[in-house]
Symmetry: C2
Subunit: 115 residues, 2 copies
């Protein structure tokens, strides 16, 4: 007979958020989980930028960048501002900075040789 773990299961089930919330959370991190998007976000940490500047910076197509910016915008991670023909993108809030920073810290500690 298989072993029992109803006790733990009940406890965990109680505190587990709804499926929908957990999916939303995964979707958010999915956005950070792409090299191109991470680079865009990192660049925007420094200063607002127009699309072609980002494309130039990353050595990628304007189209590719535009597609990614759309995803970032849909997730409310960036916002835009028009100035003539040019559109400047910027971070919409400071959460990006904190989230990225936390990721960084984990990477650093991970690469440390054990003391």
């Amino acid at each position: 007979m298989p072993h029992d773990h109803e006790a733990i299961l009940q406890k965990v089930r109680q505190d587990l958020p709804t499926d929908e919330l957990l999916c939303d959370l995964a979707d958010l991190f999915k956005i950070f989980g792409d090299t191109t998007r991470i680079k865009i976000l990192y660049a925007l940490l420094e200063s607002e930028m127009c699309v072609c500047a980002i494309a130039d910076l990353l050595g990628m197509t304007q189209s590719a960048i535009s597609h990614q910016l759309r995803i970032l915008k849909d997730a409310d991670l960036v916002g835009k501002r028009r100035e003539g023909k040019t559109i400047y993108y910027h971070l919409s809030d400071e959460h990006v900075r904190t989230i990225v920073a936390q990721g960084f810290e984990h990477l650093i500690e991970e690469q440390m040789p054990n003391p």
Copy 2:
């Protein structure tokens, strides 16, 4: 003639981390960007758990969970402990808690109606 943005580009290029680091960062977030893995991590925030308990909790195959646990382990996000036939998984550090919490905060503010 296309418009100029060398000034900003130079500044940003200076402070942009190496490609390798940015990829590692994206890879880290990629791990959080899957519903199954987020759920596993969330469960482990509460208490350590054996594989079949997690499978039971999420209503998924033992095999599927095992595959995901391997990914989490390779990324040093979880560790394991053997007790007879059973193997208990636990979070390897508290960064998971902080990273997830930050993601949460963004979600909450995002869903707020503007004041």
